[in-house]
């Protein structure tokens, strides 16, 4: 699966979540590759790990204003500042967007398992995943605010096997 195909899948998933759950406009820009943690972020980042035939992680990043707008639209309640409800809504946004991408790419890459989302809010923070050098970034515009969906995916390392090529149950001596 190349970057264009993955970005197209991400656009479809994000567009569907924004239109069905939020009723907010979303325009996408051209995808690009970026080094992880090369810049400081302000706002909210929601990460969802994946494992299985391939290993990876997806994350959505936006400013606090858009995070509040997203949770206000999702919950039909006004959120002027980032609070527990906003963080929860952003975690669910990541879960839905990354989860739908995972389901779509499983057809080509094999079964994967989705982890639980983690959401971080702060100023001038850097986010780095161990061993990940660069991410596929698909940028979006929601009104005058930006939202990035970043994705990393690599084949899982082969499993360690016993000399016989398979594991065996532990033999328990019976008296």
């Amino acid at each position: 699966m190349n970057d264009q195909e993955l970005a197209a899948t991400i656009r479809e998933a994000a567009g569907s979540v924004f239109s069905l759950m939020l009723g907010l406009p979303l325009e996408s820009g051209p995808e690009y590759r970026a080094e992880a943690g090369s810049e400081g972020y302000d706002g909210v980042i929601a990460l969802v790990p994946m494992g299985g035939s391939w290993t990876g992680s997806g994350r959505i990043i936006c400013g606090s204003r858009l995070a509040c707008r997203i949770s206000s639209a999702m919950l039909m309640a006004e959120h002027a500042a980032v609070n527990e409800e906003v963080l929860d809504a952003m975690g669910e946004m990541a879960n839905m967007i990354i989860g739908n991408v995972k389901t779509a790419i499983e057809e080509k890459l094999g079964t994967m398992i989705l982890g639980l989302p983690t959401v971080i809010y702060g100023r001038n923070y850097r986010a780095r995943s161990s061993g990940v050098r660069d991410w596929l970034v698909t940028p979006f515009q929601c009104g005058d605010e930006t939202l990035d969906v970043q994705f990393f995916l690599a084949p899982s390392p082969p499993r360690t096997e016993t000399a016989g090529g398979r594991t065996a149950p532990l033999a328990v001596p019976v008296d």
């Binding site: 759950m21 999702m74 919950l75 527990e84 409800e85 669910e92 879960n95 839905m96 989860g99 639980l116």
Partner: protein, 123 residues
């Protein structure tokens, strides 16, 4: 007769959305109970009379498929309809849920109409 509903999801946002949809559906809604995972759901089922369950799949402590299996193995809960509401849209998970006895499967993101249609088919 009003029906009590249990909504099981680790996201409070999804629990709120589902409750809102149910309140606006043509559905005889009684009390709405919430649980953040399968274990909490089993405790709620012990303590409350529930007529319908909505459950996510990916949750900490006990996931939705384990909850479904536990319910279907329990004499008092095995006939309760359970609708899975999840981002897990892969054929394998859908088949697993149906084989375990799920009454319906709704993929997130969902619309209010999808929830209402599923309700009409089940209740």
């Amino acid at each position: 007769m009003p029906m009590n509903v249990l909504i099981v999801d680790d996201s409070a946002a999804i629990r709120k959305i589902l409750e809102r949809v149910l309140r606006h559906a043509e559905f005889p809604l009684g009390e709405v109970h919430e649980a953040g995972d399968g274990r909490e759901a089993l405790s709620k089922l012990e303590a409350q009379e529930v007529g319908l369950v909505f459950s996510d799949i990916n949750m900490p402590n006990m996931d939705g498929l384990e909850l479904l299996a536990s319910m279907k193995a329990h004499e008092s809960w095995k006939h309760l309809p359970v609708i899975m509401v999840t981002t897990e849209g892969g054929q394998e998970k859908v088949m697993q849920a149906i084989q375990l006895g799920a009454s319906g499967y709704i993929r997130k993101p969902f619309t209010a109409e999808q929830i209402k249609e599923k309700l009409a088919g089940i209740v």
